[in-house]
Subunit: 315 residues, 2 copies
């Protein structure tokens, strides 16, 4: 597989993960439709196994390995949903998972990763230290690196949610996902346009981590980047192949402030009764902020995850 | 219809409300199954229209009226989910709804009732004042009283969720609902045993509002009753016909403390990613508290509603 998957890869991924992943429901709300002036269809990846879409990509990566490679296990560096997803995916195949986590990561998340059966490897909280620690695990164990987003197997897995969504919602006209590293945005854009080139693709980014918007605007990838946002799931720098995919699929990025994302999060909890992360809420915030893109249209919104610390809500 | 509905009434109700009510999903969690040592199937009435099961009963009552009666409207006394549900149900038929609300009721709830198009009538916060105010509205308008739970049409409507649940979950062995006034418990027991007399029926009650448990134990309805519980949806006194139904269907009541209900609420938010009321969480608290009733069984748990004030969470 090259650096980007195609529709066939995404279809293969869907078949590969079907025994393990959930087909997530699509929810609607008359009140949110009225607020947006559009027909909103929320794809509830907070109800995916592990509480986030990340399980799709991790599971596809794990089950793409041949038996010899699988026996040596998988490794990643992520203290968030991808680390947990890879641990859970490895467990479905009964293979070792190694997760490199920076000092200072949230304890509840680490406990979840350990509960899923992964070995934790601690490192300093810098990108260089994470990559060095993961490389060291690879060297010692022969484990396969599964990058959180700059990996065609991972993008293909994330794109599988679109295959479900177009079966669940006929005549989708626009689709919006949160954008962090861009695994979700790239996978979804490739899947959507593989099925229907007329679906308009949108990404939602926090203003404090708008590197994808700036990278698309200036034509090259922004690399001097210091994220400052409450949206902890969207702090990653957009990946190089991910950026290529967003550009190729004419993804329009809407940036929202943390305050807008938090207000949208509360609306989603109140109206949809779904526990979703503030990162997920950026998609609703974006639709409410730039209604000219969505007005009167049938819009899919990906609620990417629901792993929230209930003791420190942002409002 | 007599004071209690039968299975045919519940089937009629299902047909009557089908154009308006949601078929709510059933969710599961491997972690909660492991904690309970049972197979738990959560019927998500928090995703019902209006955010609670109450819409089922209210909608059935509204659409049971003949045209002449319907034109005069409906009235109830409830500042909670039933008032909102009746307002929304009346709107589906385009008829007037009057809701008597006690002084001091939560403003957000009153705004929702008004948004649904009902006329609010304020009264003093006592049972006698509520009933007098509702009778006065009836006298002036000819509106039909739709009691929140001691009404066969309402019970039949609530029971429709069981018709869905048995289609969604094969081989259900036990079913547990929260018990307040008993409209939900009665309707569900009648529906469940109409379909399969072997389903064991359970009710969950807060220890500070355990009048159903005490009434069943002593054989007559407890009427000297001062509820003291955080479970605001379960403070009502069990209705007379409702108590009859619980007794006839051998409903075993499990009482849980407020602390147990709050802990279960948090678990449901974390693991199911569902915003549910503390009243709803009593069912999970009960299953975790008395596992001897549920161990190894396929259990349906009714998550009755999700209308929560997100600014004052109980943990």
């Amino acid at each position: 597989m090259s650096t980007l998957p195609d529709l066939e890869h995404i279809r293969d991924a869907a078949a590969r993960i079907a025994p393990y992943a959930a087909v997530t429901p699509v929810l609607r709300s008359a009140r949110l439709d009225a607020l947006a002036g559009a027909e909103l269809h929320f794809k509830c990846e907070n109800l995916q196994r592990g509480g986030a879409f990340k399980f799709r990509g991790a599971c596809n990566a794990v089950w793409s390995l041949d038996d010899a490679q699988a026996a040596r296990g998988v490794v990643t560096h992520s203290s968030g949903n991808h680390g947990n997803a890879l641990a859970m995916a490895a467990a479905t195949r009964g293979i070792p998972a190694h997760v490199v986590v920076p000092e200072g990561a949230v304890r509840a998340k680490l406990e979840a990763i350990e509960r899923a059966g992964a070995v934790l490897h601690r490192c300093a909280p810098t990108q260089a230290a994470r990559e060095a620690a993961a490389a060291e695990v690879q060297r010692q164990t022969g484990a396969e690196l599964v990058h959180p987003y700059a990996d065609a197997r991972v993008m293909a897995g994330q794109g599988t949610l679109v295959l479900e969504l177009v079966r669940q919602v006929e005549g989708l006209q626009a689709l919006i996902t949160p954008v962090g590293g861009g695994g979700l945005g790239a996978g979804c854009a490739i899947a959507a346009h593989g099925l229907d080139p007329d679906i308009a693709m949108y990404g939602a980014e926090p203003a404090g981590a708008d590197d994808a918007a700036r990278s698309l605007a200036r034509g090259t990838r922004v690399a001097d980047f210091h994220p400052d946002t409450v949206c902890d799931g969207l702090r990653a720098l957009i990946g190089e192949p991910n950026l290529d995919a967003l550009r190729a699929h004419r993804t329009h990025i809407v940036t929202v402030t943390d305050e807008e994302a938090i207000a949208a999060m509360k609306l989603l909890w109140q109206e949809l009764k779904q526990v979703v992360e503030v990162s997920s809420a950026t998609v609703l915030a974006a639709v409410l902020k730039q209604p000219e893109h969505f007005s009167g249209r049938r819009v899919g919104l990906v609620l990417s995850g629901g792993n929230v610390d209930l003791d420190t809500l942002p409002w």
